[in-house]
Amino acid sequence: MAKPGLDGHDRGAKIIARALRDGGFEVIYTGLHQTPEMIAEAAIQEDVDAIGLSILSGAHMTLFPEVMRLLKEKGVDDVALFGGGIIPDEDAARLKSMGVKEIFTPGASTEDIVKWVRENVQPRQ
């Protein structure tokens, strides 16, 4: 679970991290104010199966593609990238067409998110 950008809206990220942990997953939370570089680096270091980005600052169209680009640059192409925050529908559609696996918006339940991760994230080879 990663929190890119400069804003401090971490209520959602922490709730999701906790719900996933309670759901039996091993969760690493990066803390706030991460750069895309820091997130890609942490994902590789920790050998994660998925990255969840929580963005409420409006900078999602900059930050998602940048994390994806850096992962690719570092030779990682099988980490599932998903995210959530205040993301308008049209932006969510564009992000998905770029390869983001799922976008959750306000009102999504922790149960739905845990279920989605369970069904869509495969352990990496």
Binding site: L6, G8, D10, I15, R18, L32, H33, A59, P88, G107
Partner: protein, 541 residues
Amino acid sequence: MTKQEWLEQIYQRGKERPVRFTTLSDMPVQPLYTPEDVNGYDAIGYPGQFPYTRGVYESMYRGRLWTMRQFAGFGLAEETNARFRFLLSQGQDGLSTAFDMPTLMGYDADHERAMGEVGREGVSVSSIHDMARLFDQIPIAKVSTSMTVNCSASVLLAAYLVVAERQGVPWEQVNGTIQNDMLKEYIAQKEWICPPGPALRVVTDMVEFCAKKARRFHPISISGYHIREAGSTAVQELAFTIADGLCYVQAAVERGLDVDDFAPQLSFFWDLHSDFLEEIAKLRAGRRMWARLMRDRFGAKNPKSLMLRTHAQTAGVSLTAQQPMNNVVRVALQALAGVLGGVQSLHTNSMDETLALPTENAVMVALRTQQIIAEETGVTNTIDPLGGSYAIEALTDQMEAEAMEYIRKIDEMGGMLKAIDRGYPQREIAEAAFNYQRQLEQGIKTVVGVNKYSIPEEIPIETLKINRELEERQVQRVRKMKRERNSVAVREALKRVAEACRSGENLMEPICEAVRREATVGEISDIYRAEFGVYTDPGWI
């Protein structure tokens, strides 16, 4: 008949709906309150009288309505200046500035960390030139301005004062508020540069400076808002905020200031959430707690030192992206709670704020909501009209007692700085937020249009779009300014700020001089980073 007899003999005959009768914060609520639940009416007192339960001013809204102050800021300074002037033309009487994330975190628009965030969540201010554009043709002597900024607040306050100078307004006449509540940043909002210790020193410098040079300016707005928005209960909001306030007062007293010389300039900022009675009780309890603590702990004698004067904002977190028109109703009820709770200044959220920054139309409805409460409902005719209600008084007493218990625990830890180091308030809030989310998902708590009464097809509403090209324009403008200014003068001024960081001299005069010489928000923040170190998020879940 006693209350107990009534409960056993009469109430038991009726039926109760199968729901949980608790406040939004999950505080149990009784079916009925009676005189037996109130600890005597003497404690309530009169408006304008210690302990100010019924209001800080003797005539309250019969004397003067609250300040209608809508928070605004987006894009470049010119856009926000236009929104400010629109709001003033619509009958708003105070300004409130929202800065963008780079400004709030102490980065210039041309810094790599600012990429994608310039002008998005607020207005971009990197230098004195942006501040001057923001207040172009707005008479600083006449309008009180609130600035929501914390870790870079010292620089923004300096810039505002330098703009006042240029308008020919002496600092003594500058009226306004700067949020500058760093403790709640570590607890809840999470905008910081350096660790809590040096941050508290900078805040104390500003308190001292304003007590001496800008006596009509409020150097801190001690904020519960962000604590609540991060998921705390109402009692936690009350307790942690008051505990933060005590920590600032302690620091200023330790600096050698007389409590009555600076405490009248402290102000507060509460959240107004959806549980109507709980919110009204919270506002009343807060006033009483502050008055007693300031008198008993610090020996404050000036009545103004004892009065908790507050701004309030309706709860952003209560707004829903689903059926956004419903938010107008939520905001109206929350604002009414604020008025019945006796606030001095109010921001009403716009219906579209979970989707984007608000459109001009949405902001106008929000402002009109306040005007309807003020001029149509009649609630302003009587002071503290709910005072003496058994339920309100009992809840006020209960919340005060529970909040004081938290304050006792924080005192035992050695005060708020120590409690923050241990992650105590942070963990309490995360726990409360998680509990609420679980209750929501289990249907124990209801959010209309989200977990109940939802509709399959949402009707989209118009939202504000921020032009992405603005970022490039601002970046170029800041770079050009940096090329053209007198770089020797800037370097010297920054050196002076660094020296003041080390020597303990009050930072505000050196920062004002640096700002005059066109040093930027980012450059002065870099001095803090170099001299005080950088704080990183412990990431407690």
